[in-house]
Symmetry: C3
Subunit: 369 residues, 3 copies
C-alpha cells in the first residue's frame, strides 16, 4: 500500500510512551497540551480523536491516578463541579442531563467492588452517558490466557471513550494511563491508591463542615492497611492548620511514611489511645474497618484489635454538635447501628457524595468544565 494511502487509514494505536504525553501529575497544565500520544502527525487523525481534541480545548484533567496529583485549585474545581452535580441528579427525572450523551465508559474491574462500580456507572448514566461493564475482568478470558494489561487496554480503548480501572496490583492504573489514548480513572489498584475515595472523603468534610482549613480530624481503626486513610492524609495535608489524631490498636498503627510526610507538610498530628477524648475535640471522626483479611491466621490479634475502638452512643455524647462521623464503608460493628439515626452520622451521605465526585470527574475528563 502506498504511504499516502496508509496515512489516510485510521491509526488509533499510535506508538506509545511518547515524551510529549500529557502528564497526569499536572492537574492544570500551564497551557493546553494535546492528549494524543506519539508523534501525532496531522494526517493521523484517529477515530477517537474528536473527543480528545475537544478535551484539549476545554478539559483540564488527563487521567485520575493518585490523590497526590491534585493541588488545591484542582480540588476546588472538582468540588465546585460536584456541587453542581447534585442539581443535575435531582433533575434526572424531569429533564435528564445529556452532557455525556454519546460517550461510552468501560468499567474494567479486575477484582469485584460493587459499590465503586455501581457508583461510577450511576454517575455516567446520570449524565446521559453509556456504560460497558466488566464485573470480574480477572477472569477476562484474555487475561487468563496471559495477555498483558497493556494489550487489554489497547483493545478496550478502541471500544470506549474512558476507562475506569480497578486492579489488584499497585501501579496498574499508571501503566494503563501510560498506554491509553483515552482518559483512565483509577478505581483502586491493590494496596496502592483509590483517589476517587480520597476526593469524596475530602468533599464530604467540606460539604458537612463547610471548610477544610483548620479541621481537626480523628482517624480511627486500621491505619496500617487502609489505603483510604493513607490517601486522605495525603490530601488533607494540602489544607492549612490541620490537626490529625491517630487512634488505633497497636498492631495496625499509622506507618512512618505518612507521619514523615505530614511532618514535611507542617501538619500537626498525635497518637492517642483515648477515643472519647479525641472525639470531644474533633470536627470529623473517620472510623475504619479492621481488615480481617490482613491478619492471616492470627485471628486472636484480629479479634483484639477489632473490639478496641467502637463508635457508639458514648462517642456521640462527647462529640461536638457540629461534628460528623465518617466511614468509607462497608462497616461491621465498629460503628453501632444506633448511631445511624443521629444527624451527625454522615457515612451514607458520604457514600452518596461518591456519586457527585465521580460525575464531576467524568464531566471534567470527557468534556471539560
Amino acid at each position: 500500500m502506498a504511504a499516502a494511502a496508509r496515512a489516510a487509514l485510521p491509526r488509533p494505536f499510535l506508538p506509545l510512551h511518547s515524551s510529549s504525553r500529557h502528564s497526569y501529575r499536572l492537574a492544570i497544565p500551564p497551557s493546553p497540551a494535546p492528549r494524543l500520544r506519539g508523534g501525532g502527525a496531522a494526517t493521523s487523525v484517529t477515530a477517537a480523536a474528536a473527543p480528545l481534541q475537544q478535551q484539549v480545548t476545554t478539559g483540564r484533567l488527563g487521567d485520575v491516578i493518585e490523590a497526590q496529583q491534585f493541588d488545591r485549585a484542582a480540588l476546588n474545581e472538582i468540588f465546585e463541579v460536584a456541587r453542581e452535580m447534585e442539581a443535575v441528579e435531582r433533575g434526572s427525572h424531569g429533564a435528564p442531563s445529556r452532557v455525556l450523551e454519546g460517550f461510552l465508559m468501560a468499567t474494567l474491574f479486575y477484582e469485584p467492588s460493587t459499590r465503586t462500580r455501581l457508583s461510577f456507572e450511576a454517575a455516567m448514566r446520570r449524565l446521559g452517558g453509556e456504560v460497558l461493564t466488566t464485573e470480574n475482568a480477572r477472569e477476562f478470558s484474555s487475561a487468563a490466557k496471559g495477555e498483558t494489561l497493556e494489550d487489554t487496554i489497547r483493545t478496550v480503548e478502541g471500544y470506549s471513550d474512558i476507562i475506569v480501572l480497578r486492579h489488584f496490583e499497585s501501579g496498574a492504573a499508571r501503566r494503563a494511563a501510560d498506554t491509553a489514548n483515552i482518559p483512565v480513572i483509577n478505581a483502586g489498584d491493590g494496596p496502592g491508591q483509590h483517589p476517587t475515595q480520597a476526593l469524596l472523603d475530602v468533599y464530604t468534610i467540606k460539604r458537612e463542615i463547610g471548610t477544610l482549613d483548620g479541621i481537626k480530624l480523628g482517624l480511627v481503626g486500621d491505619l496500617a492497611n487502609g489505603r483510604t486513610v493513607r490517601s486522605l492524609a495525603y490530601l488533607i495535608a494540602k489544607y492549612k492548620d490541620i490537626k490529625i489524631y491517630f487512634v488505633s490498636p497497636d498492631v495496625v498503627k499509622m506507618k512512618d511514611d505518612i507521619k514523615d510526610y505530614l511532618n514535611s507538610q507542617g501538619v500537626q498530628w498525635e497518637e492517642s489511645s483515648d477515643l472519647l477524648e479525641v472525639a470531644s475535640k474533633c470536627d470529623v471522626i473517620y472510623q475504619t474497618r479492621i481488615q480481617k483479611e490482613r491478619f492471616g491466621e492470627r485471628i486472636d490479634l484480629y479479634e483484639a484489635a477489632r473490639g478496641k475502638y467502637i463508635v457508639d452512643k458514648k462517642v456521640l455524647d462527647v462529640l461536638p454538635k457540629h461534628a460528623v462521623i465518617m466511614h468509607p464503608l462497608p462497616r461491621l460493628d465498629e460503628i453501632t447501628a444506633d448511631v445511624d439515626s443521629d444527624p451527625r452520622a454522615a457515612y451514607f451521605r458520604q457514600a452518596k457524595n461518591g456519586l457527585y465526585i465521580r460525575m464531576a470527574l467524568l464531566k471534567l475528563l470527557l468534556v471539560g468544565h
Copy 2:
C-alpha cells in the same frame, strides 16, 4: 456547623423505621401518604425527593414484597397497565417509550436468576429507563466482608431510583423495603416469595382464558417446595368460584398451610392422582419442575417423583380446546417437547407476560398510572 446550615444540606438517609412509613400492605392507601420516612421536616428535602414526591401524587404502590399485598382492585390496575405495555413494547423501534427516561433501576441479585433479571432489565429499557446491574451480589465485596443488607441498601439507594432485589433469605425483601427510601421489588427471596411471578401467572390466566372468576386450575408436580404454586394459590384465592386440583407425588404434596388458607377463603380444592382426569376438567394445567436440589441424597425418591406426572400428547388429547398449559420454567422433561407446537402450550407466552407485568410495576412504582 450551624443548625440552619445543616438543615440546608442533603439528608438522603433519614432515621429509619418511622411509624409514618407508607405501608406496602396497602396497595391503594386511603389517601396519598408521603413516602419519605422519618420525620421528613420541610427543610430536609433530599436529592432523591423529586421522584418520590412525584410518586406520592400519582403512584399507588409503595413496594412489591409479597403476592398477598394485592387486592383485586390493585390486581386489575396492574393487569390493565400490563395490557397497555404490549403496545408500548410493540412500538419500541419506531417510537420508543420515554416514560421512565432518566430513571435508574438497580438489579441487586444475591443469587443468579438470569431469566428474572433479564426480564426486569428489558422491562426498564423498553420504558426508556436505565439499569445498574449486579449479577451476583453475594460476592459483592461488601457482603463478603460482612456488611448487612441494610447498609448495602442504604448505599445503593443513593445511586438509583428503584431496587429490584433477589436474595437467598426469606424476608430479605421486606427488610430492604423497610430500610430504603426508594421503592423495592422482591424478585424472589429464598423459599419466601416471588410476587412478580405470581402476578404474571394470574395475568397469563386472564389473558389466555379471558376471565379469572370461575377458573378450574390443576396444579401439578412439586407442590411442597415450589414457591410459585404457593404464591399462585394465595393470589387466585382472591377470585370467585375457583376450583383447584392438586396433582403431585406423595413426597411433594401441597402443605397444610395453603390448604387451610384456601378453606378460610372458601376456595374449593381436592387432591387427585389422575392427571388425565383432572386435565379433562381444567381451564389451566399448571405444571412445575420437581426440584432435585430439595431431595438431597435421596435421588431414588427424586427419580420416582420426577417421572410420575408428565404433560404429554395424552394430556393434550383430553385437555379442553379452550384450556392452556402453563409452567414457570425452566422445564426439564415434565412437559414433553412435542407439546410445544400445540397452541394450548402457553408457557413461553407466560414468560413473555413477565415482561409486561414488570413494565407495569416499574411504571406504577416510579411515575404512577
Copy 3:
C-alpha cells in the same frame, strides 16, 4: 376461549422447525421471504413482528452463523456498511446515532469472552441501541438446572430484538437460530465457528492493503486448533489469485480438510518452515497464539511449539513496506512488544475493526442497509 379470541392473542412462540424458515445460507435471498417461522397465519401477528417485517423489506441477512454463508456480494455490502460505521463512531459525541434506538440486544455468553462481548455491546451502543448482558450464562440458573438451549432462546427472544450467542458447543448457534424468531449472531461456538472474527479479519486486509484479490497471506502459529485461521481460509478463498503460506510447528499443522477445500476452490497454498522467507513475500502475516490449553499434559510439546515462530524485528526487516502484521489477540510473546510501534503492526487496528464489522452486522440484521 373461543378460537377467534385466541387468534387475537399474541403468539410470539409459534411452532418451530418450520420448513419455510428463511435460510441463513442465503445471504441474499432471491426474493424477500418472511422471517416468521411456522405457519405465520395473518392473525398471528406477534408483538415482535414489527421489526421482523421491517427487516423483511429492507434487510438482507437472516442470522450470522458461519463464515461460509457469505458470498462476495454479501461481503462487499457488509464491508461498505462497516466503512460507513467509522464515521458514525467518530461522530458519537456531537451527534450520536439513533439508527438502532429502541432496539435491544441480548448478549448470551455461555463462556466468558470479554473482548468479543464488549465489542458487540459497544457496537450496539454506538448505534443508539440498548443491551441486556449475561457475562456467564453457563451459570444461568436455568441452564444449570438442565434447561435446553432452545428453551432459553425462546425465553430470551421474548425480551430482546437480537441475540448474540457465545457457546461452548459446536453447532449451538445454528440450533439457536433454528429456534429463534429474531436474528441470532454466532459470537463463537466452541471449536466450531466465529464468523464475525473472520469478517473483521478479511475487512482488515481490505482496509489495510486496499484489495483482497491477489493477496499473499502467511498464516503462522497454531493452524490446527485455531478456528480463526480456519474460518479465514474459508473466507479468503472466495477471492481471486490468493496464495497462502502455512508456517507452523509440526504438532499444530493445518488440517487436511482446509487444504482439500482450498484445492477445490483453486487457491494456491504451500507449507513452509522459513518464516523470514515467507514474510519477505507476503502482504499479510497473520500470527496466532499457540493454544496451551490444547496440549493437555504435554507441556514439553507446547513449549517447543511456542518458541518456534516469533514475529520480531527480524521479521519486520524483511517484510515489505506495504505489508501488515495481524493477530486475532490475545497475544503472548509470539509477537514481541517492540513490533507494536511499527506502522505495519495492524493488530490493534484489527481489533478496532471488530467494532465496525459488528456495527454493520447489527444495522443490517435489524434495519437493513
